[in-house]
Symmetry: C2
Subunit: 230 residues, 2 copies
Amino acid sequence: MRNRSPERSPADGPLSVRDRHAAIHHQIRQRICLLSYPPGTRLSETSLASEFGTSRTPVRRVLARLEDEGLVQSVHGVGTIVTDADIGALEQVYHLRVELTGLMGRLDPVVPDVAFVERFERLVTRGREIIDTGTPHEFTRFDMDVFQTLLQLTANIPLRAVLERLYYQTKRIWLQAAIEAHLDLKEEFRIFHHELEALLQALRSNDIEAAAHIQRAHISMSFKRLQQNS
Amino acid sequence: MRNRSPERSPADGPLSVRDRHAAIHHQIRQRICLLSYPPGTRLSETSLASEFGTSRTPVRRVLARLEDEGLVQSVHGVGTIVTDADIGALEQVYHLRVELTGLMGRLDPVVPDVAFVERFERLVTRGREIIDTGTPHEFTRFDMDVFQTLLQLTANIPLRAVLERLYYQTKRIWLQAAIEAHLDLKEEFRIFHHELEALLQALRSNDIEAAAHIQRAHISMSFKRLQQNS
DNA sequence: GTGTGACCAGTTGTACACATCTTTGCATGC
DNA sequence: GCATGCAAAGATGTGTACAACTGGTCACAC
């Protein structure tokens, strides 16, 4: 059997259908979660289509998926609106995320190899630089990179999928609420960086369960701080 | 504020867009999970469209959602194929389901009221009748009803959504594998019915955590029996 | 000034024609 | 008899025109 995509180079011109879909999905999700499209924004299928150089049809499929993921909601005759969330709904998702993150250490944990630890060390270094100069936008983007990396500590595919779904549901709401509550974002950076150093220690000891519990505690405390200030 | 769907009676003619979508989605998902469309079946958008009295467009949206849920996979030029799963992938989903089911007792548990207990009692009675006369089809349908009912024991909406997703991913594969492994389905009925009676006891005592642990143990043992016979 | 009703611009939902791709079966050369 | 190529059928993906619907604006009666 040959490759499913014949004569495909890594940096080739015509992407497959799935790749095009994934690219548009990733782009729009990033904009929503980085608050380029804050909650309440009305997205236009037509303008998105012209921006991505395609027709409305593929854009509509992406928006339908984002609707299933809870990030937007389409209303006939009105538009496709970026969803908002009250603190109550956010709390439910956070509680679930806390428990599922704790599960990462027990469900098919992956012992990190040298390359993984080095990659994580680079992340810690990059985080140290961001503490002083970082904008909320850069901080969130950094947080996403860390999350995607740590996701590889479990080989349980469905668990990964669920965690990713819940992460993108909460991150943007947290960011917006943190800004509105005048949370000290620089202080949040610092706390996050401490967590990363603790995680690095755990990873060097190949202790996935400890790493999972550190993340779990971080998520829980992060939400508690938000609740206290709002 | 008035109803989102003005002048809507329970049995009214013109359904809203969301309802039509939900109806088609439910129908096709039922057929997949009841093995009317066994794994490998090629679904045709055109014939589904004519059956539901619509065009391909709404059907395509439903199939896209089912693809995101992992139940089908669309391949350009070939068709939309009902997915299969090997025992390894199934094991990962089962492990996750076991843990999440255990969480139901701790994340926003709902104390069952009298109406709920009565509804469950009727389910137990219905189950007793099915033990002798039931076909695999009826058994699975009954299992779905029980699952949907027990889902209401937690008020955590995201947890419900995740559990439902994982349930429909595994149920049909379990059923197919159970038939192929020549598992004694009548014996499985009986064990399931014992579980229901134990659950009824727990519900009467308002002990949601016990109910969650009973379900958890049931799911775990059910999969173990399957593994031993395959 | 105010309430009311009709129109209009803009949006999502649907239907359909066409493009692109895969499979399959058959004809043809050897 | 067999391999090979080609064409045709049928599937999903895409583009586009139109239907259905909403929110706002503006003219007009009172």
